[in-house]
């Protein structure tokens, strides 16, 4: 399945889209849409693209209605691919906060989240990858996070996960943890308060990185349970 959806948002809450299933937006607030999975998948071989354009001073929060479950396609199909590209004009703010993505055993997902922020724009990214359903170890994942700010590269970060590969599920990879949460703020987005920037407890390990530019990245490894408290 090959699908492309484009979203436009302007200041004052005007939001338009041109959608192809399965990436179908539904408006759920003044500056908010939920993506509603309008088909099963993604499966190996699927190529889904979401383009987001935020005009000057536009605000947009994008959530999803349910977790994404990535399952293997037939053996020759290759990975499922999801590409999200967002362009933010000055004063625009994007909050990208989908529900978790579960990469099932034998499945492979490649994602690419590319943000281009003009000077004065800001973005908050909140993603969670879970390796496998209950009783599984999980498949393979490559997640590219690529952010440019004011015309300069700010972050190039490709997380490589594999629930079965000893090199990547061992001490150099996820050390047996089954979920990776990525929280990233760019362009004056405040750091989360309420817990220390770095720590280890209750099976969680996390650190907050000051990027080499106007942004921060928090990475947290943990188990497969727990609520995310996405309403903030």
């Amino acid at each position: 399945m090959i699908a492309r959806t484009t979203l436009w948002a302007e200041a004052g809450g005007r939001i338009r889209w041109r959608a192809t299933p399965p990436l179908v937006p539904r408006r759920t607030g003044p500056d908010e849409v939920h993506l509603v999975g309008a088909a099963g998948g993604p499966l190996g071989g699927d190529e889904l693209t979401l383009e987001i354009q935020l005009a000057a001073d536009a605000q947009l929060t994008i959530r999803s209605a349910a977790a994404t479950i990535v399952q293997p396609g037939d053996g020759s199909a290759g990975p499922a691919r999801l590409t999200v590209r967002a362009q933010l004009a000055a004063g625009a703010r994007l909050h990208w906060c989908p529900q978790p993505t579960v990469v099932c055993d034998e499945a492979e997902l490649h994602t690419s989240l590319r943000l281009e922020l003009a000077e004065g724009a800001s973005a908050l990214v909140h993603e969670r990858i879970i390796l496998g359903r209950h009783g599984e170890r999980g498949g393979r994942y490559r997640g590219e996070l690529r952010i440019d700010h004011a015309g300069a590269a700010l972050l190039r970060h490709t997380s490589v996960l594999d629930g079965v590969d000893p090199g990547l599920s061992g001490p150099a990879g996820t050390a047996g943890h089954r979920s990776l949460t990525t929280l990233c703020g760019v362009g004056g987005e405040p750091r989360p308060t309420g817990c220390s920037p770095n720590g280890e407890r209750n099976g969680l390990r996390w650190a907050t990185h000051q990027l080499a530019g106007p942004g921060w990245l928090r990475l947290a490894l943990g188990g497969t349970c727990g609520t995310r408290g996405t309403r903030r």
Partner: protein
């Protein structure tokens, strides 16, 4: 040429590498890396991710010789900055780069590539290493190989010291990883050649895994450690 390049491969090269464990100490302290099998797993994961990145940047630096003098060191240095998420690891890479630069500037005082690196306050280690390999007469594949070699060697030596592992078995584990390291080296060198030919740093890899990045910050916050990283 071979003798000069081997000098850069020597773990006794005065570049401050002995003060760093490549992330091993934080894992040993938590019982997450306890024996030679764990070390082998660790090195396997590191070579394919961090090894690919440092190998590609060392290869890029070695290729700068063809492009000199219109080579812009700052741009490639910044490209490694945006691929090194942890500020603790950026500092480690820059401290080791500066230390290596002092050594190799004295060893090859007239080399224009190395002289060009003087423009950067504290250059990243893989760039200095790659430029030094070129100054020593080596090629970009050798530069990538040396970057991967130091990543593996530094972590292995630290594991021997921290855990009292049998050095013979650790060396055997490193030998077992050599074919993987050679594959990664070839991949890094070929990506670097394309990035330099197209003059596009976005073609360079940014592969990473979460544990080393998280552990780097936790380790940097510890009060007493044997290794700086």
């Amino acid at each position: 040429m071979l003798t000069s390049v081997l000098l850069l491969a020597d773990s006794r090269l005065p570049s401050g590498g002995h003060g760093h464990s490549g992330g091993v100490e934080a894992l040993v302290e938590r019982g997450l890396l306890a024996d030679v099998n764990d070390l082998t797993c660790f090195l396997n994961g590191r070579v394919r991710t961090a090894g690919l990145v440092v190998g590609a940047f060392a290869a890029v630096a070695a290729l700068s010789r063809q492009e000199w003098p219109r080579w812009d060191w700052e741009r490639w240095d910044a490209a490694l900055d945006v691929r090194t998420t942890s500020s603790a690891l950026r500092e480690v890479s820059r401290a080791q780069g500066s230390a290596l630069r002092r050594t190799v500037r004295l060893a090859w005082p007239d080399d224009p590539g190395l002289r060009g690196l003087d423009d950067i306050d504290q250059p990243h280690h893989p760039l200095v290493l790659g430029a030094a390999v070129a100054a020593a007469g080596g090629g970009h594949e050798q530069a990538a190989a040396l970057a991967v070699h130091h990543l593996v060697g530094g972590a292995a030596a630290a594991a021997v010291r921290l855990l009292g592992l049998d050095p013979l078995r650790v060396t055997a584990a490193q030998a077992g990883l050599a074919p993987l390291a050679d594959d990664v080296t070839a991949q890094a060198a070929s990506i670097a050649a394309r990035a330099v030919a197209d003059d596009d740093s976005d073609l360079l890899p940014a592969d990473t895994t979460p544990m080393p990045e998280i552990m780097a910050e936790l380790h940097a916050a510890e009060e007493v450690t044997l290794f700086a990283s």
